[in-house]
Symmetry: C7
């Protein structure tokens, strides 16, 4: 999967429809299915869940996340 990535947004494009982990500022984490993103790295997650210390804290369903607050986005299938 990594070999076809030429620009950073390629990874987000390849992750559409897949589960991703999103780390935002102030120690919040979200997991959910990546539905959409734009060049500001605004993203929409489906079946989003907020995590605290790796545990599900709250289900928040469909969610729009502002790009400005995001630290990293990682497709869940690639973590070990």
């Amino acid at each position: 999967m990594a070999n076809t990535i030429e620009r950073p947004l390629d990874l987000l494009n390849m992750s559409k429809g897949k589960e991703v982990l999103v780390q935002v500022k102030s120690d919040r984490q979200f997991v959910g299915t990546l539905k959409a993103f734009d060049i500001h790295i605004n993203v929409v997650l489906d079946n989003a869940k907020e995590l605290e210390n790796g545990e599900v804290k709250k289900s928040i369903g469909l969610t729009f996340l502002r790009g400005d607050t995001i630290i990293f986005i990682s497709p869940a299938s690639t973590s070990k």
Copy 2:
């Protein structure tokens, strides 16, 4: 609902007239009916209430929220 979202702003467009949960920086949360938004993610909520630890803290009615302070916006009907 999630299947018709191609760009992040589509979710906000579909959420107009519906109740949304808005998380802003410094741990403030608002619920209210989404009346309007723009590309800066400035939003107007009707019947907005400020929450603290999930409890209603204050009713603030019609409210303009600056996009720059927003972390996420989630239509209330999609949370579980």
Copy 3:
């Protein structure tokens, strides 16, 4: 009032000449009559008062507030 709002700035336009509550970063709040605003959400309040825990702390008269520090603006007449 809410039904004629199509864009977020419409609410600010409708609130001109009326009392608004302005929440800024670092827990400051102001109430005053909205005299003017621009697209950066810079605003001018007349008869502005700074609040602390809902109590008037100081009268600061005519005041220019930089948009960048604003979290929300709410017309006072719509809160309950």
Copy 4:
């Protein structure tokens, strides 16, 4: 004075040559005569004094204040 303000910068224009109170981030306050401002809300104060808890802490004379750090600017004559 308030009735001739159509845009936020009008208040700054009308305050030239007058004493203003400038609140910046991290709880610093300045008073001084407003000499100049630009669209970034950079301002120059003459006879500027830094305040701490409403008391003069230091005289800093002619001073350039970067707009980015400013929360509000209020002509001193309008506070009560």
Copy 5:
């Protein structure tokens, strides 16, 4: 390696396919293979690992890091 660097992005270009150390704000560090970057310094790391005090805290696989949160990026082979 350093002698062929004329612009800062040259170093990132030369580091593609190599292991880099990425320091982000709020004391997080990542190591991983640099797959891609853009002018916003958004980067994609492969086999990314989050570090805490120099120890591997978590493997997060392929990861998109937003440029806005990055302090420095250093090719691992050049540290001593």
Copy 6:
């Protein structure tokens, strides 16, 4: 001196070659001779000294200060 200032940058222009006090975020202060500035308020100081509580903490010679971190710049000769 103050009477010829029409725009904020006029003060910086008039202060070239003179000693200025520069306050930056996170409570750092610098004094030095203003050699150059640009519209981003990046400045170069010669014979710069970092101050702590008004005392010289360190001499850092010629120094480039990024505008983004600056709160105020004041020509030393105008403080009383």
Copy 7:
């Protein structure tokens, strides 16, 4: 050296190939040979070392530093 500086970036240009001290936000300092910079004040240092309280904490070799985090850059030869 200072007399030929007309714009702030002139100092960075004259410091290429020389040792500089770079202060970034959140109290980190780096020393290293300035290899490159751009208008965003992104810089590349060679033989970079991270300092803590003036002591070398870690050698990080060739390093790309994002301009947005930088407070000041000072050529080491000019400090006293």
